[in-house]
Amino acid sequence: MISGGAIVVSAAVLGAGTFAYRAAGPLLNARFTMKPRTVELMSTAAIVLLVALMVTSTFADGKDLADPARPLGVLVGGVLAWRRAPFVVVVVSAAVTAALVRLVL
């Protein structure tokens, strides 16, 4: 785990960068629009990164394979999400499934 100081510096850098993205349009007061292609690529890139984080945090524990309880929990949550269950139900079911599998195994 990183130190408290590193968390503060990271938050400041990430915050400054994010603010710069958001404020560029309003502050430059530019009337030009970005190409739809660029916009699409940026939003897809964000989804790609988040899906990769989702998948690796499902199956990997550091450099090793996670125990089966975790992917099973995520699977149950995923099926519920696919069937448009409420967010809270999805998250709690995933956690409860993983916890129960660990109790049994």
Binding site: A23, I47, L49, L50
Partner: protein
């Protein structure tokens, strides 16, 4: 206060206000899971609130927690967060007129859901009102959720026994599913995830997620529309 609320209701309409309230409630719940998961991964109890104060962009905050929890460095986690937040650049251009009177505040509060509600309104004054109403309510709900979640997270000492390690990917999955119903997102995302997973045993923690961006080649290699001659 009461009359202000009534005039807001008159100008935006009860249906839109109800939609905004529902989204805010949902975001509060996501904020609570963010706080609880981040603290149970070993972050100090103030970390989720500090992150939210400085960054206020949920996806990148989750990403930061995930990369660090997997053993990645702060640099890799910040880099991943900055890549995910690049999508805010076009938001700013789309809303430049809308936030003209409060540029700094409008930029600070520019989160996905508020942008969506704002851009859905055609008339400029209504757009401005919808954007700021949604953004301010989201800000409050997200922060309250963060604090409550973080406090709950301190009560959980054994993350795995409670299955909280499965809650984290499930939160992401639930949030990402609507975007994954579109084929243009699904293909690059699946390829990227496969690459990241394959590289996980080999690369230092934090880096495999960044390598997922190679999944975007699927889009580049799509055949171009023939030029009109």
């Amino acid at each position: 206060m009461r009359s202000r609320w009534r005039s807001l209701e008159q100008r935006l309409g009860a249906a839109l206000l109800r939609d905004i309230a529902l989204v805010c409630l949902a975001v509060g719940v996501v904020g609570a899971s963010y706080g609880a998961i981040t603290v149970s991964e070993g972050f100090p109890v103030w970390a989720p609130s500090l992150m939210s104060l400085f960054v206020f962009a949920g996806a990148s905050q989750f990403l930061f927690t995930g990369v660090v929890a997997a053993g990645g460095s702060a640099v890799a986690a910040v880099l991943a967060g900055l890549l995910v937040n690049a999508r805010h650049l076009p938001f700013g251009f789309a809303l430049a007129d809308t936030v003209r009177e409060h540029r700094l505040l409008g930029s600070y509060l520019m989160v996905d859901e508020a942008v969506a509600f704002g851009l859905a309104q055609k008339e400029p004054e209504r757009r401005r009102l919808a954007f700021f109403t949604c953004a301010i309510c989201l800000y409050l709900c997200w922060h309250i959720g963060c604090v409550l979640g973080a406090l709950a997270g301190t009560a959980i000492t054994d993350t795995e026994a409670w299955g909280l390690d499965a809650a984290f990917p499930a939160v992401l999955l639930a949030l990402l599913l609507p975007s994954l119903r579109a084929a243009t997102n699904r293909l690059p995302a699946l390829l990227g995830a496969a690459v990241a997973l394959a590289l996980t045993p080999v690369l230092p923690p934090g880096l495999p997620v960044l390598f997922a961006l190679v999944g975007l080649v699927v889009l580049v290699r799509r055949p171009r529309r023939p030029e009109p001659t």
